[in-house]
């Protein structure tokens, strides 16, 4: 079996999309790992009302945990230098006005950039929305990190999402354990492949037809 990218490597690749001065909301799961790899000057937002929170409290310093400072994934964080605190009206104006980059996990992304990442159960009680819909619709850029296929090898990058949608036509970039794919008006453009994988092999694991970028290359970190 050929090697797929480790979770940390996916996070590193996603972090490469950020630069000094960017403000980013990191969703639950894999995206939170990006925090370890972002360049200096990137600031983190949580929709519950913090911008510029500091490092997370580590498991061996439980005594430092303070319920007043919780990150976007519900973990204890520290107040960062220059942090701002605000209410949800301000918070969602930040999100909806296109000032924040959003990095989230995904269950499925369609060829048009439709995103399904909140619900696998099919009805209103099958998942939790939180800020995901706002972040998908309003994000300055919406970057999805996820496994390229399901555990049993099924497609996650699909013609049409079968899970309930988070938002229509909202994803800009998909970073998986096999590839980096940009969502464009013409379709999905394969930009980078994991070391040792060919565009043809990626296509076989992707339901919609991929446009192979003329300069397609190995994933760069």
């Amino acid at each position: 079996m050929k090697q797929r990218l480790e979770r940390d490597v996916i996070a590193m690749r996603a972090a490469k999309e950020l630069k000094d001065g960017d403000c980013v909301n990191l969703g639950f799961g894999l995206p939170t790992l990006c925090a370890l790899y972002v360049p200096e000057g990137v600031r983190f937002q949580t929709e519950a009302g913090l911008l510029g929170y500091g490092r997370l409290v580590l498991a061996d310093e439980v005594e430092k945990a303070d319920w007043h400072y919780i990150d976007a994934s519900g973990r204890f964080c520290t107040p960062g230098e220059g942090m701002a605190i605000f209410d949800v009206v301000t918070s969602f104006i930040m999100i909806r006005s296109g000032r924040l980059i959003s990095i989230m996990g995904g269950f499925q992304v369609s060829e048009k950039g439709d995103l399904a990442n909140w619900n696998t159960g099919g009805d209103a009680l099958g998942g939790t929305i939180g800020g995901a819909m706002d972040l998908a619709v309003g994000g300055k850029r919406v970057i999805i990190t996820m496994d390229h296929t399901t555990k049993d090898g099924g497609y996650r990058i699909v013609k049409k999402c079968s899970y309930p949608l988070t938002a229509k036509e909202s994803v800009d970039l998909i970073i998986t354990d096999l590839a980096v794919i940009e969502v464009t008006r013409k379709g999905l453009v394969l930009k980078e492949v994991a070391p040792g994988w060919t565009p043809k092999e990626i296509q076989e694991l992707t339901e919609p037809k991929l446009i192979i970028a003329p300069d397609v290359k190995e994933v760069e970190l």
């Binding site: 009302g49 997370l56 439980v62 319920w67 605000f86 949800v88 009680l125 938002a167």
Partner: protein, 258 residues
């Protein structure tokens, strides 16, 4: 000066009737008016509509916390962006109540904030791009404005809001701490009557006017939290000690070394 200070949580909620619409912030354990929720529970009023940021099962001991989900048997309708915890079966814990008639209305968190703003500001509702093409639009009017689709969302005007503040002066000028602020200022402004439990009540003039987050005009009743009540710093620490005994939970709440 009108006295807004109440001596007990039970007195502060005494007039809330059956069928009331109550906004109560909850962000996991934090930002929750634990004592006022406990008082509503003791009072046993029924057919409530609960508007909250986060409706998750009470995973903490009743000794330390009382989240909106503890009111489940008293609720007729739930309006929230978060029902349950994904890894714990999401909204499955409310299904038995849905079968008995509980209505659940879901939407994005920003939509909840905007609907509360609409309620507070007297708007007739909002046209919202968030939720288009999702389960949120079911049963709602849709409209295309300048080529873009929107969902009509009605304003939310709670009868009561239950807040958890840090410090209030006797006029009700209110300060929060950290992300306890969250949904609470807009809930305070949208509700007809707002009740706040706070860590500390101070004299008028003791809060720097530049630091007031919710002006006292929006706060009707204040109860000071005593050391024996819920929601104290000590009880918050006790919960941290309790939940960090479970490694899988600890992994979710804390960062990892590089």
């Amino acid at each position: 000066m009108i006295n807004k200070i109440f001596n007990s949580f039970d007195e502060a909620v005494a007039d809330i009737p059956d069928g009331a619409v109550i906004a109560a912030e909850c962000w996991g354990y934090p930002a929750t008016a634990h004592n006022l929720i406990a008082a509503i529970r003791r009072k046993g009023i029924k057919n409530l509509t609960i508007i909250t940021h986060c409706f998750i099962p009470q995973v903490f001991s009743d000794k330390y916390a009382m989240t909106p989900a503890t009111l489940l048997p008293q609720i007729k309708k739930l309006i929230t962006p978060i029902v349950g915890i994904m890894r714990l079966g999401a909204g499955d814990f409310v299904r038995p109540y849905v079968e008995q008639g509980l209505e659940v209305e879901i939407m994005g968190h920003g939509t909840l904030a905007a609907r509360l703003y609409a309620g507070a500001a007297g708007l007739g509702g909002i046209y919202d791009p968030v939720g288009v093409g999702t389960l949120v639009e079911e049963g709602k009017e849709k409209r295309t404005i300048n080529g873009k689709e929107y969902i009509f969302q009605e304003p939310l005007k709670p009868d009561y809001a239950l807040l958890s503040g840090f410090k209030a002066d006797k006029l009700g000028n209110l300060v929060y701490r950290g992300n306890y602020r969250s949904d609470q200022p807009i809930m305070a402004m949208a509700a007809k009557t707002t009740i706040a439990e706070v860590e500390q009540v101070v004299e008028v003039g003791d809060i720097d006017p530049e630091h007031v987050i919710t002006p006292g005009i929006f706060i009707d009743r204040i109860v000071e939290i005593k050391p024996t009540d819920l929601g104290t710093k000590d009880k918050g620490q006790a919960i941290i000690q309790e939940i960090t005994q479970v490694d899988s939970v600890k992994e979710l709440l804390f960062g990892k070394k590089e």
